[in-house]
Amino acid sequence: MTWREVAHLSDVAYGELSFQAIYASKQGNLAPPGPAKDAVARARRRSMQSKAVVSFVLVLLALGAAFALRVASTRGKYLPSGTIPLGAFQAGVITALLALELAFLWWAGMQILPTFLSSGALPVLEALPIDERTLRRTAGVLYLRMFDLPALTILLATPLAIGLVLGPLAGLAVVPGAFAVVGLSLALALITGRYFLRRVQGSRGGGGATIVRWTYLVLWLVPVFSMFLFVVAAPAFLTWLGHLAENPPNLETHLLFLAFPFALATLPALVANGPFGLGLDPAGWAFLGLGIAIYVSLAAWALVWVLESVRRVGTIPALAELPPVVAPVRLRPQRPVLAVLTKDLRIASRTPGYAFLILLPILDAVAIGLLTYVSPSGTSTSLSIALAAVATAAVLATFFGPAFFAIEVFAFSYGRTLPLADRTLIFGKTFIVAAMYLIAATTVLGIALARIFEPAVFAAFILAELPGVAAAAFLELGLLYRRARRRGLPITNLYANAWFSFVVSIPGVFMAGLPLVVFGIVGMRGFDVGVLAMAIFALIELAMCSAFALRGRDR
């Protein structure tokens, strides 16, 4: 078959994939009224909107990096404390950009993969009289189509943003970096997604297995999260770069040129500024050249591997064979709200995307909390960092809160046949969001205990924000639930309704952020007064938002 036929087949499969992602008919939800052609077209549009959201965030990242480079060039000062060569600073910023792009595309891929595998879009083709090579190519092209807009955004927006600030040649010089990011993230999404399906999603139930599953999830998130941690720790990284620049080239600097994605980020900085004193002796050049060659080759190989492997990953049984085990049949039913919460946590523990959403605020709190050890113990800086960690946890928990409704998409139609009140569902989801915030904030408290004055006051700050977090969750869930009921759609899933989840998150984050703003304003008169005002404000928000979410007749 020709590539034209491959394009046609992959287009048909992509239509089915979009349809399942949006309408989840394989989960028993009714197909929308009207001709199937229109429904598929609508599903395609929605999928494109979701990809547009991912691309929008990627554009923001590129613009953010360009802004940082621009400000540094204008001011001639590159660090709050001390200076580093401009080129090293630029390499640092571009490193952060590439790392974030990789993490984001990888993460987005992990969200999509379960839908891709469960849609059955590929196994349908297997039964048709199509030759092996065409099937392989079709699967590869289908996989690429799932990432087309975000991948193109990285390939275009990154050089454009860098080129805008550092010149066209520097923009061109970042193309290998952008290419490596795309190639590696697509491969990582496929590998990790597959791994999760086999080892995590397919694992047995039971207490011990649950702990093992969550441990796997934490371990597996570390690579993604380390990118995030890298950005959080960017000032320390830049300081380290400055320190390296002050000293003669050594093994440390040479190894840095081998590290991903610094090697690729150095190239545009070199083009813009020439050698900038970061150990670029002959050995340094060799390491840099080697690093670039390795990562570009690896990315090219990864892309070829992805194209060749998608079919195998998409069609063979996803779960590992397990030896038979018989445990006593005993049920421990819980109250309905707790049953919803437990069910969601159990599903999340086998679904990487959702597990990531639960773990992100907690891991973020750990990362920022650890920064308190950078500042002197007991200083106001330590407290500010700890407070910032709590505030970030609140915002992250509520920003991703609606996503938890996504879990309802699995067998949602079955859930609707149970005597499960809307308010029970909303309470269950709000408990998860509140628990995520509390665990994250308590983790910060635990980490920063030795670094801050008056831990009791800090604990009061954590508790004062809690009603604000719950209010945000109520508001977002109330909005989501009304829309889903009105349209008769499964509540949402990240891939299908990313745009609406994103839009709904804005008032939610606003709601969670307002008590923090109140603290910022009133807290100038004293920490205690600030916490009190914050608590009162958050409680008023909670009363209003819970009334909004829970009003109306239960169905």
Partner: protein, 262 residues
Amino acid sequence: MVAESVPLSVEDLSVVYGERRAVDHLTFSVRPGEIYGLLGSNGAGKTSTIKSIVGLVKPVGGRLLVFGRDVAQEPLRVKEDLGYVPETSLLYEALTPREFLEFVAGVRHLDPKVATERTQTYVAAFRLEQEFDEPIMSLSNGTRQKVLLIGALLHQPPLLVLDEPLNSLDPRSVRIMKDLLLGYAADHGRGVLFSTHTMEVAEQLCHRVGILDRGVLRGEGSLAELRAKGESGDATLEEIFLRLTEEGDGVREAVASLGGRG
């Protein structure tokens, strides 16, 4: 006014998808202690009727009463009295049967001891012990169907609504299920609504059947009543079905065109 002892009363039900009328002014009831079979070809409107009863589809007209309670007015209360097995095995794929049944039992406020005892009975009957802690996504269709059946029976609902419940089950489980349903309906005046397009199963199990064709009820009654109405002597349910749905000639023509005995 419908007496509260009537498990299910469907009155003038209509369901429309876009331009297509899936169910057209359908009326029937399931009496206490009765297994009522809803028969029909693919697309006859069986699943749409059932989905309306369990609250998955909003009808455009008519009324549905479960033990005298209106499905549209008291959906939560009605769902407490219902046990539902869907046509396709809709389950939370990322849970194990144990986790799924714990969730169902929790939502239905079941006592742990009662839930455990009932589950043990059904798990043993369906020989599910080995799969009880496996993720549902790894289970066969038949095993998923068994999990759904246990989920529907766990709270011993006074009305069971089963959409093609014997699909994918092995012969042993089919036999168990048939005996179980016969005993279940007779006990405490419960009702069972059962959709199928397998005539033999309907003949063996159902006290009465309703024959649906393109959303319209073409005939209703026990096998004897249907024979009497159609003056069809000792006709099988399949023959009655084909005559009522006016598909007999069509079937003969189709078989002849395929080279069989038309």
